[in-house]
């Protein structure tokens, strides 16, 4: 009988509540999965996704604020100088991290980030870190720090790098990095400050330096959920190392939080249970009863709450008050571990209260229930091995477009859900489950490209066909242009202009009328020379006079005439340059562009193959992830079976005890029965 109690205590107090440290994401999963199990409200995994991306959001700027508040706004003055950087932020602020990463890579490759390259790289590094690409992130951060990075950016990089070390469980290095490069929280950019304090608190906790966490924890806003998680973890850690009073005080802070959304209420529930365990451990069952009395019976932790509640009454030797909780539990599904424990604890209590009939039937019922559940687990094992369990649990992941953030993807509330509820809250399951979904997204993305690639092929073919049609026309045009010898003509005109100016040949600058008169005079002079005998000296003199007058007329306006010509020549020169540029471009389009298009065609074919190969690899990884999850489920089944075997054996032993007792009662005169073990002795032995 002692052992029965030992089992109840060991499994419930230590494991079920177990002072397991929570991460926001893990708690989110726990909360949402359990809540979805009870169909309380359907927003479930969304919060988890937010939690997962918390660290990414801390990355560069301000985006992780849920509201439209402009508290952290960065556009006064508007810091976006490169439009591509603004476009990256547009994706990032909408939590489309995959699209943001792709845009950063495009911006870096195409030179679209002339002024904000480094800033974009910091963001990329942080996104790598949260996207399960720690090596790439570390390499990028180190590269950034080796360069002459802006001091403000450097602080960000050091924090991200420290966070990366933390994720890699290099806690001392993470702390050293912060100590060496981030002197205090005030130096941290405002939008990163909360995350900085949270990171510092976590690192110090991991290093066991709980006393030093005070300042970092004080830096966090008290009302934030992040602060709540950290306080809970800190409380549990401190209790576990024997600093009970400090842990207790922190837990009370959480218990006394104002009721809020489901997330806050679940955190309060969890704190109540932790306090209950603490009081039970420290032999303060009255206080445990008091605090556990306020635990919700419909929350995600209600089974644990009921079990602990029973335990608290037993600790004060009031088994009658414990029976109610245990009976409630025993009516719940045998899939709950707490219900399995209640099934054995309840007949034990009946026996303690002297109701041997109820105890005996209770044990028999429990054995039957354990056996049924054992058989159920065997069938479930088969189902897991065949892949049917996973297919039922996962269904088709929902997604809209490949560039969107991952939509909610919850394990379906299948019949076996409760069997795995503790597995579903484990970090290892949570990680694999999200990875599985992410893997689907990548495969969908590749499938989408597979559908778009034929269109790109057609587009390329259209380019080639257009090129083939237009190239002969372009070459003909270029030939005509060559024949026109435009540049040479400009050169000749310029030379004539220079010669005329140098040799003061004013006739070169005559207006059209003047040129016509000059030509007429020249013709008249020729005629006069030819018919010299018929031209009188007066007439000849007249002609000479006219010529001098005309020359004088031209010379009088030579400056504006020369300037006019010069301006005309310059204009023609510019036109000539433009036409030469156009000539080169048409020539390149006619000849060189073919090389470009050919290269594009080759690249496109290569990408076709690459997409197909990646898709195959993706499916392989997907099946391995599924296998991993199934292995976890099988381990859980085996674990439960071991428990059931032990419980069943325990029930049989207890029945034998009862039988033995009854026999001894029957043959009382022959041999006296042993004294019944008191509850006190039970409690002492279990402690």
């Amino acid at each position: 009988m002692t052992a029965v109690f030992y089992v109840v205590k060991a499994t419930s107090v230590l494991r079920v509540l177990g002072f397991v440290l929570l991460t926001p994401s893990l708690f989110g999963t726990l909360y949402s999965l359990l809540r979805s199990a009870r169909c309380v409200k359907p927003c479930a995994f969304r919060m988890l996704v937010v939690a997962v991306t918390l660290s990414a959001a801390s990355v560069s700027s301000s985006a992780w604020s849920k509201s439209a508040s402009t508290e952290h706004r960065i556009d006064r003055p508007h810091v976006v100088e490169d439009p591509i950087y603004g476009e990256i932020l547009f994706e990032y602020y909408q939590k489309r991290y995959f699209a943001a990463m792709t845009n950063i890579l495009i911006g870096l490759e195409t030179g679209g980030l002339p002024t904000q390259r480094e800033r974009a790289r910091v963001l990329l590094g942080a996104l790598y870190a949260t996207y399960g690409m720690p090596r790439e992130a570390e390499a990028l951060f180190n590269e950034l720090l080796q360069g002459a990075v802006d001091p403000d950016l450097a602080t960000r990089v050091w924090i991200h790098l420290s966070n990366l070390y933390y994720q890699q469980q290099r806690y001392q290095k993470a702390l050293d990095t912060l100590n060496a490069h981030v002197a205090n929280g005030k130096d941290v950019p405002k939008d990163l400050r909360q995350n900085y304090y949270a990171l510092r608190t976590r690192i110090l906790m991991k290093l066991g330096r709980y006393e030093d966490t005070g300042a970092a924890l004080d830096g966090l806003k008290d009302a934030s959920t992040l602060s709540g998680y950290l306080r809970y973890n800190l409380a549990v850690s401190r209790i576990n190392i024997g600093q009970g009073e400090e842990g207790e005080a922190l837990l009370w802070q959480l218990v006394n939080l104002e009721p809020g959304d489901e997330e806050v209420n679940s955190l309060k529930d969890k704190s109540i249970l932790a306090l209950g365990v603490y009081y039970l451990r420290s032999n303060n069952p009255r206080q445990a009863q008091h605090v556990l009395g306020s635990a919700r019976l419909d929350g995600p932790f209600s089974e644990t709450g009921l079990l602990l509640h029973a335990r608290a009454w037993l600790a004060t030797q009031e088994p009658l008050k414990a029976i109610g909780s245990l009976e409630q539990l025993s009516r719940r599904s045998m899939q709950y571990e707490e219900a399995q424990e209640a099934a054995i604890a309840l007949p034990f209590l009946y026996a303690q209260l002297g109701d041997f009939g109820k105890a005996q039937s209770g044990y028999r019922n429990s054995i039957r229930a354990y056996t049924d559940h054992y058989r159920y687990l065997s069938a479930l094992e088969e189902k897991i091995r065949s892949g049917a369990w996973f297919a039922e649990l996962a269904q088709e992941p929902s997604w809209s477009t490949a560039m969107d953030p991952l939509p909610a993807f919850e394990p379906k509330r299948v019949e076996s859900f409760a069997t795995f509820q503790h597995l579903f809250t484990k970090n290892v399951f949570h990680t694999r489950w999200l990875d599985y979904h992410e893997q689907w997204r990548q495969i969908r993305l590749l499938e989408q490209w597979q559908q778009r690639l034929p269109a790109m092929d057609e587009l390329l073919a259209a380019h080639i066909s257009k090129h083939r049609e237009q190239t002969p026309e372009a070459l003909a045009l270029l030939g005509k242009t060559d024949l026109a010898q435009l540049p040479e003509r400009i050169v000749n005109m310029t030379r004539r202009y220079t010669d005329a100016v140098t040799h003061e040949n004013n006739t070169e600058f005559a207006t059209v009328d003047q040129a016509r008169l000059l030509a007429g005079l020249e013709k008249a002079q020729d005629n006069a020379q030819r018919w010299r005998d018929k031209v009188s000296p007066e007439q000849q003199e007249k002609l000479n006079f006219y010529e001098r007058v005309l020359q004088w007329d031209i010379a009088e306006n030579i400056v504006p005439l020369q300037w006019q010509r010069k301006r005309e020549l310059l204009r023609l020169g510019r036109l000539s340059e433009q036409s030469a540029d156009l000539y080169r471009r048409v020539e390149w389009a006619a000849k060189g562009d073919l090389n470009r298009i050919t290269l594009l065609g080759r690249q496109l074919a290569g990408m076709h193959n690459e997409v197909v190969a990646l898709e195959a690899r993706g499916y392989d990884l997907l099946s391995r992830q599924q296998h991993d999850i199934e292995r976890l489920a099988l381990d859980q089944v085996e674990f439960t079976r071991t428990r059931l075997r032990a419980f069943t054996a325990e029930c049989w032993a207890a029945l034998a005890d009862l039988q033995h007792r009854a026999l001894r009662e029957k043959y009382k005169g022959v041999d006296a029965p042993p004294p019944v073990e008191s509850l006190d002795e039970h409690l002492e032995s279990t402690d």
Partner: protein, 170 residues
């Protein structure tokens, strides 16, 4: 019975999950896979842009919002040379992103060199939540090479009104 309890405790103490090394290998492969997918996604997007919008004819139109106290956009409709080329309805998320300083690439077009008329019709909530409609026009002189046009929606604190203007650069 005590023996059984101790056994249970041992079972509890042991990790149910014992696939650390394998998981590490899988994680590495997934990281490499993600890197490869990001790379091919980037290359394909670049290729698609190259085919759809060659650099010489490309005009990209952006929208920015600074600060958004006097105006919250509902929709933007773009007309290029009198033809409607794009319309966009804003979601809350998009408005929040713009308010945080992001810039939206609303449209990419192929445009021949020369002068073009670009008009943006903007609707939204103006000061005190009043319905607000404005049109703003730019005579776009498209030269060689890629060209960017930014529709800037700004707060005019003195007038307590939003202002709308275009900025064009290459």
């Amino acid at each position: 019975m005590t023996r059984i309890a101790l056994l249970l405790l041992m079972i509890f103490g042991a990790s149910v999950y014992a696939g650390g090394a394998l998981a590490g290998e899988l994680d590495n492969e997934m990281a490499q896979y993600r890197k490869d997918v990001l790379e091919i996604n980037k290359n394909l997007l670049l290729m698609e842009e190259e085919l759809l919008f060659p650099a010489d004819t490309q005009v990209a139109i952006f929208v920015s919002l600074d600060v958004g106290k006097f105006f919250v956009p509902d929709s933007v409709t773009l007309k290029l040379d009198g033809k409607t080329v794009d319309s966009h309805l804003y979601t809350d998320k998009e408005v929040r992103a713009l308010m945080n300083g992001a810039i939206q690439k609303i449209h990419t077009a192929n445009v021949k060199n020369g002068t073009h008329e670009l008009t943006a019709f903007v609707t939204g909530a103006g000061p005190n939540g009043r319905e607000y409609r404005r049109a703003v026009t730019l005579n776009l002189d498209k030269g060689h090479g890629r060209q960017f046009v930014q529709l800037k929606i700004e707060d005019d604190t003195a007038a307590q009104q939003p202002t709308f203007s275009f900025r064009s650069w290459q």
